[in-house]
């Protein structure tokens, strides 16, 4: 089966698409570059939209079903748009014992944010991760890519509030 031609795909000159294309070129447009391509697509677009999956399938000459299969198999890839800021709470054993569940509870109570959801204004996404390996610093969370150590629920709430208020103006 040949993949469908890309429909409604981003214009080829889109800068974000160029990043994805550069990754595929580096691997010679071989099919084994799929995960790498999806990584850079997610980095460029923030999430994997259907059009991007189609474009990747066409470029690497693999069935769309396989691309979709890989994109949905791995936790790291998301098919839904993410908020502008992300808060990844570690729920590994050490963090759990030190109160990662309290952090999740407080986020749910205060902002109605569960794991895998984005706030209605599209500003903050909350995710959970398996052990991020910073057990000495438990409970830990990755706030916008930076590991924050020894967190209390209040600190996380303050950070989320800061993100939300910043983005209003």
């Amino acid at each position: 089966m040949t993949p469908e031609p890309a429909k409604g795909a981003p214009a080829p000159k889109d800068n974000r698409w160029r990043l994805v294309e550069a990754t595929m070129r580096r691997h010679g447009h071989k099919s084994h570059a799929l995960i790498e391509a999806l990584h850079s697509a997610q980095e460029a677009y923030g999430f994997l939209e259907n059009d991007v999956l189609r474009m990747v399938a066409t470029e690497l000459r693999i069935p769309l079903s396989k691309v979709y299969g890989v994109a949905t198999f791995y936790n790291f890839f998301t098919l839904k748009p993410q908020g502008r800021h992300t808060c990844v709470v570690c729920t590994g054993t050490a963090c759990y014992i030190k109160g990662a569940d309290q952090i999740m509870n407080v986020l749910e109570k205060k902002f109605d944010l569960k794991s895998g959801t984005t706030s209605p204004d599209g500003q903050v996404s909350v995710l959970t991760a398996r052990c991020i390996g910073s057990c000495g610093l438990a409970p830990a969370a990755v706030l916008d890519g930076a590991v924050a150590a020894k967190l209390t629920p209040a600190q996380v709430v303050a950070k989320v509030e800061e993100w939300m208020s910043h983005d209003q103006h």
């Binding site: 071989k30 099919s31 084994h32 570059a33 799929l34 995960i35 790498e36 999806l38 990584h39 396989k66 299969g69 890989v70 198999f73 791995y74 936790n75 790291f76 890839f77 590994g92 054993t93 050490a94 991760a129 398996r130 052990c131 991020i132 390996g133 910073s134 057990c135 000495g136 610093l137 830990a140 890519g145 930076a146 590991v147 924050a148 150590a149």
Partner: protein
């Protein structure tokens, strides 16, 4: 083309430069300390050194993980053997003032504490001592010497034999003899072979791969190149979790540096051996730590394990079809470069700490005497049969006896691999080679 002389020149220059500095201040810049803002501490220390006019006799540099992550950020003054823990950026000027005099007692850590005193670092010997972002420092710690030496003086079969003699085993749970695995790949038919380094760790509290990837990335590259030479592979992949951005960054940098120096790439050290290393990112699937799932993921597919045989080391399917793969846990490959450097005898030394030397695990070795002959902590006497030891009973190999090197008789960390009764088979196998 790089030779042993070039390496020793670089190492000499690096050591002289280090000796010329009076006070070397090491700041941990591995992930744990960085998340406690050790980068700011480093900045402040640099400013303080400059402000107090100690720039000539004092140097601040970032080093890898020192092990005591819970007490970070850690700062060590190298020659005076002083460790500071829980350092805040405001402490910087006090630390610089105390150089050459009495250390700042308020934040001083205890280097004589059991945590440090009972560690014997082997794989992690360079962690916390060298700057992971500079290849020269790794070379000054005798890095890449084993690679060039092996390439010029040994045959691939000779390397496999030495690894077999050393008794080195896989660092994963199964403890498969590395020499046996390499010999299988070495002998297997096929023109394209691969070395895959498994840096995908996801067990809670397990971050020994990250510690080395962030603190001593060149060690992994050297170990992989040696494995590639032994088995006849020209391409290696390091599979790293995407959740470790710092490890990926440092590994990428290390590959670039090694390629620039001719320690990776075509015709390493002027020999016919070529070896390239590529990074593959994991995408958050715990199962990808398993060998066949990992290979599926490297090939760009879903990481689903498949039944064996065929074993990956004899044949794998998909994009690396008709190729043999030796996939190894990254602790094994790090360990190997230490083995090759000191010869097989050192590796055969019985030891308690530092087998799987993750910062958390290396701290409390149980003395070998309190273990039963199956290596676990059930404290039964050495004459007890396997049936009496609950761990040995649970994990007795079902189908085939795993050859066991005499060297690892006293191994301490895992019970599973030591239950084999055929103690002499590894030795006889080594002779047959």
């Amino acid at each position: 083309m790089i030779s042993i002389e070039d390496l020793s020149q670089i190492s000499q220059a690096e050591r002289e430069a280090r000796d010329a500095v009076g006070h070397q201040i090491n700041v941990c810049v591995a992930a744990s300390c960085l998340s406690l803002q050790s980068d700011k501490v480093k900045e402040e220390l640099e400013k303080a050194v400059e402000a107090k006019g100690k720039k000539d006799c004092c140097k601040v540099r970032g080093v890898g993980c020192m092990g005591l992550c819970a007490a970070g950020p850690l700062v060590a003054v190298e020659k005076e053997k002083v460790l500071y823990q829980g350092v805040a950026p405001e402490d910087a000027s006090a630390i610089v003032d105390a150089l050459g005099g009495e250390p700042v007692a308020r934040i001083q850590g205890d280097l004589e504490a059991p945590f440090f005193a009972r560690q014997q670092k082997i794989v992690l010997e360079n962690c916390g001592r060298i700057d992971p972002e500079r290849i020269e420092e790794y070379i000054a710690a005798d890095g890449y010497l084993a690679l060039i030496d092996t390439l010029t003086a040994m045959t691939p079969i000779g390397v496999v034999q030495q690894v077999t003699r050393s008794g080195l085993r896989g660092r994963g749970g199964a403890g498969y003899p590395t020499g046996l695995k390499w010999a299988t790949v070495n002998k297997s038919q096929g023109t394209r072979k691969f070395v895959i380094c498994n840096g995908d760790e996801g067990d809670p509290g397990a971050f020994m791969d990250r510690a080395v990837l962030e603190s001593d990335p060149h060690r992994i590259l050297e170990g992989m190149a040696l494995a590639g030479y032994a088995v006849g592979a020209q391409q290696g992949f390091v599979y790293v979790r995407a959740e470790y951005p710092l490890a990926i960054k440092r590994l990428k940098l290390a590959i670039k540096q090694a390629e620039k120096m001719g320690l990776l790439g075509a015709n390493i050290g002027g020999t016919t051996f070529s070896f390239n290393v590529d990074i593959r990112l994991g995408a958050g699937a715990f199962v990808c730590g398993e060998e066949t799932a990992l290979i599926a993921s490297v090939e760009g597919g879903r990481g689903t394990p498949r039944p064996r045989p065929p074993y990956p080391r004899s044949r794998v399917s998909g994009a690396i079809r008709r190729s043999s793969t030796t996939s190894r846990r990254s602790p094994t490959s790090r360990r190997f470069s230490a083995t090759a450097r000191s010869g097989s005898r050192r590796s055969a030394r019985p030891r308690a700490a530092g087998r799987r030397s993750s910062p958390s695990r290396a701290q409390s070795p149980t003395p070998a005497s309190s273990r039963c002959r199956w290596g676990c902590r059930c404290a039964r006497s050495s004459s007890t049969s396997a049936a009496a030891c609950p761990t040995a009973r649970r994990s007795r190999p079902s189908r085939r006896a795993v050859p066991r090197a005499a060297a690892s008789r006293n191994r301490a960390s895992t019970c599973r691999a030591t239950t084999s009764p055929s103690r002499s088979s590894a030795r006889s196998w080594g002779r047959a080679e």
